[in-house]
């Protein structure tokens, strides 16, 4: 039990240390930040290789080529045609050899043909037809003013959605000059778009702040593992802020003392 506790402490301390390395970037770029950044690039790439091997190649290819007793004796396989996609896949690697790079176009063409063919009917139905259908539903005249203050399922809201969608589509139509009535409708469209982007921005701020709050929660977990209680947590942050403030004051004094141009 004692060694597990020490192990957990060390691993958690490593996580906390790397977290603070990344936070140090807020002051300025520094070797600790660069170290953490390059470490995660390597570790992520290595992780991806392992996932592709164990979750991709082994079940989908190697298992099918080795129905027999010996892994490399693919002649024992009941499905030897699986060699063909593996050869096609390896043909992709010729991309790095300038003389043979054209060979990689064949498997890429197979992939692009399948992907684009799949996309056309599905994206047309999903993004265009279903959305147009939803926009053109009958207005609920019985519930035109809705239930209370700003009811999103009221009749007038539905009319705003319908005309708002058309106006925004008018704004994106650049094959005709925006003049006269067209310009007026396009102007309404850009107003609707600005409200949409404002709503997205509000949500984005919430999203970004959430990311930082979660880091605070994790650092509190670390102080609980190490020392227990919120006192230690606040002490660690006080010291961190203190260092940040002192460094900022130092930079400010350096800025005041900079040589001025004649």
């Amino acid at each position: 039990m004692e060694s597990m506790t020490i192990g957990t402490f060390l691993w958690t301390a490593l996580g906390a240390f790397l977290t603070l390395c990344i936070f140090s970037f807020l002051y300025k770029d520094n070797p600790l930040y660069k170290l953490a950044e390059h470490l995660v690039v390597g570790v992520s790439a290595g992780y991806f290789v392992i996932i592709l091997w164990h979750n991709g190649l082994v079940p989908n290819l190697f298992s099918r080529l080795s129905d027999g007793d010996f892994y490399f004796l693919w002649l024992n396989s009941s499905k030897p045609w699986y060699l063909i996609p593996s050869i096609l896949g390896m043909m992709m690697w010729t991309r790095f050899i300038r003389k043979w790079a054209w060979v990689s176009r064949w498997p890429m063409a197979l992939y692009i043909g399948i992907a684009t063919g799949l996309a056309i009917p599905l994206e047309m139905k999903n993004r265009v037809l279903t959305q147009l259908d939803a926009a053109m539903r009958p207005v609920d005249w019985a519930n035109f003013f809705g239930n209370g203050y700003l009811d999103p399922i009221s009749g007038y809201s539905h009319i705003i959605i319908f005309f708002g969608t058309i106006a925004a589509l008018f704004y994106f139509f650049f094959s005709k000059e925006h003049s006269g009535v067209f310009k007026g409708v396009a102007r309404l469209g850009i107003w609707i778009l600005m409200i949409g982007f404002g709503a997205s921005f509000g949500y984005t701020v919430m999203a970004r702040i959430s990311l930082f709050i979660q880091r605070i929660q994790v650092l509190e977990d670390f102080t609980n593992v190490a020392w227990g209680g919120s006192g230690a947590f606040l002490l660690i942050w006080f010291i961190t802020f203190g260092i940040f403030v002192l460094l900022s004051i130092y930079e400010f004094i350096k800025y005041l003392g900079r040589p001025r141009n004649a």
Binding site: F23, I50, W53, P85, A109, L110, L122, G198, G202
Partner: protein
């Protein structure tokens, strides 16, 4: 062969997939499943290109002692360490025991998660700084954007007294009505764009994916 065969392949398979969507016959489903089975394997080999690129670039930096070459060493060490752990210290290539390897799991939990999560948490500060510096009510449109953002940000704020419930309902209405209209227009536009581009690729009009000869 260099250009005509790939263009023909794109056309044949593209048209087949479109027809297959409308023809749910057993034989078309069989071919569809067969193609999908192959494409997963081809795709995995293609992803190896990215890993090889990373190794090559990092190795070049170390070999020619370019700026900050020491960090490339850290990258390669991290990459090979994960590979060793992922294959259960190079003992197991055939079974997935490496995925449960102690070091592999702990490297993910205590190196990858903290660093990646913290890198993105820096955005909290950058968005505050960017909002402070750039979010100006220069025109009516910018003001509209600003007001919509403020209403959504304040939606669950209880410190505005009697206005608070109305802020919440206004935010909900903004998201479900004008925001919906705007995003619907964007979705329709994107959908038409995707279909047009896909058709251009299938018909051979768009050939950028072939690269140069």
């Amino acid at each position: 062969m260099k250009r005509q065969l790939p263009l023909s392949l794109v056309f044949i398979f593209g048209v087949f997939m479109i027809i297959q969507y409308f023809v749910p016959h057993e034989s078309s489903e069989w071919i569809f499943e067969f193609l999908l089975d192959w494409i997963y394997i081809i795709g995995i080999f293609a992803l190896a290109l990215g890993i090889w690129s990373l190794i090559r670039v990092s190795w070049d930096k170390i070999k020619y002692r370019k700026d900050n070459w020491q960090y490339s060493l850290v990258t390669l060490l991290g990459l090979f360490a994960m590979i060793v752990f992922g294959f259960d210290y190079l003992r197991n290539f055939q079974t997935a025991e490496g995925l449960q390897n102690f070091m592999f799991v702990h490297f993910f939990d205590y190196i990858m998660i903290p660093i990646q999560a913290t890198m993105f948490s820096l955005l909290a500060f950058f968005i505050a700084s960017a909002a402070y510096r750039a979010f100006r009510a220069r025109s009516i449109l910018a003001s509209l954007l600003l007001i919509a953002a403020l209403i959504v940000m304040l939606r669950f704020n209880p410190y505005f007294g009697p206005i608070s419930p109305y802020l919440e309902k206004t935010a909900s209405w903004l998201l479900n009505v004008p925001n919906l209209a705007a995003k619907r227009a964007i979705v329709i536009g994107v959908g038409l764009g995707i279909v047009a581009t896909a058709l251009k690729v299938i018909l051979g009009i768009e050939r950028a994916y072939l690269g140069k000869d």
